[in-house]
């Protein structure tokens, strides 16, 4: 786990927290974002790199040494950008493991069909809420 080299595309709330957490585990991390101000979300303890640029330009991904990455996580706000970055990582840079955030649950199926592991915040939130509701009902039944 420690020697993994991870490229995180999109350094918003999700991307920056993920970058902080992975860096804390001792992994090599590179965070990419099109806006320099996005990097303010990175913690002081973050020991990885920052690359400013548009991730739909292969030159930017090359600058982030994506060809060396063990894992790429696409977390930008734009589903299409995430899909494209994930596929570029897989086909052009032969990255062994690629994950992407997808906002629109309707698109999840296509991500899977293309060999990308999707994480959909809406689906996760629904599950979390349902679990809480179920637990409360169980407790009510038990009492």
């Amino acid at each position: 786990m420690k020697d993994l080299y991870v490229v995180i595309v999109g350094c918003g709330r999700l991307g920056s927290q993920l970058a902080n957490a992975l860096s804390r585990l001792g992994m090599g991390v590179v965070a990419i974002d099109s806006s320099d101000s996005a990097f303010s979300g990175l913690s002081r303890a973050y020991s990885g790199f920052r690359v400013e640029g548009d991730a739909t330009e292969p030159a930017v991904l090359r600058a982030a040494k994506m060809d060396k990455a063990d894992l790429v996580i696409a977390t930008t706000r734009d589903d299409n950008v995430n899909l494209m970055v994930a596929q570029t990582a897989r086909t052009l840079f032969s990255v062994p493991r690629v994950m992407a955030r997808v906002f629109d649950p309707k698109r999840e199926r296509m991500y899977r069909a293309l060999g990308i592991e999707p994480v959909c915040p809406t689906v996760l939130a629904v599950e979390a809420f349902m679990n809480i509701i179920r637990n409360q009902e169980d407790k009510a039944d038990a009492s």
Binding site: P58, A59, N80
Partner: protein, 220 residues
Amino acid sequence: MKTIITGGGKAVYFLCRAFLSKGWEVAVVNPDQEECEQMARKLRALVIKGDGSDPAILEDAGARGADAVVAATPDDATNLAVCQLAKIEFDVPRALAMVGDPDNEEIFRMLGITVFCATSVMASMIEQRAALEEITNLMPLAEGKVNITEMALSPDSPAVGRTLRDLALPPNSLIAVVMRDGKAIVPRGDTCLQASDRVILITLPDNHGPVIKIMTGESR
């Protein structure tokens, strides 16, 4: 032929008009409300306001049963998503994407999407045109491995008055068509070139320069 075009602006409007004039059935998906209203007034096409990379929108546009999808938004990632959605979810046989960044051409091709890179075509046209004014048209084909060039022969061209056989063009090059007095001639070895002929050349990138030199006498 049933075609869906996603995107906006003048280029998409004229593309629609061109397809409609061929008698094709056309649907446009455009995210801009105002443009949609204008297009719906001016074109006999189905116009849908929305994002073509949304499966529900693409389905509304008739993706199921469409023969081709042309993704022409200014955003490369959106165009890729539209084309893949069309192919994977709706089994559309042909998907064509416009790309802005020439570096993305390779990736799109690796993913099985046909691409059209306006930037590359324009750059190559400007480059060739800057070199020689007689060249009025140049189009790279087959991923830029083949060039089709149209040029006018000036009276002082060394090729004027010579037959194709004498010209001795390098291997892998061809004078495909000679336009003379408004007529197209497919030339043979004994065809003699005349001043003010327009010729259509087929060349490869590595012999393009030498062929142009033979035709014009100038090196580029």
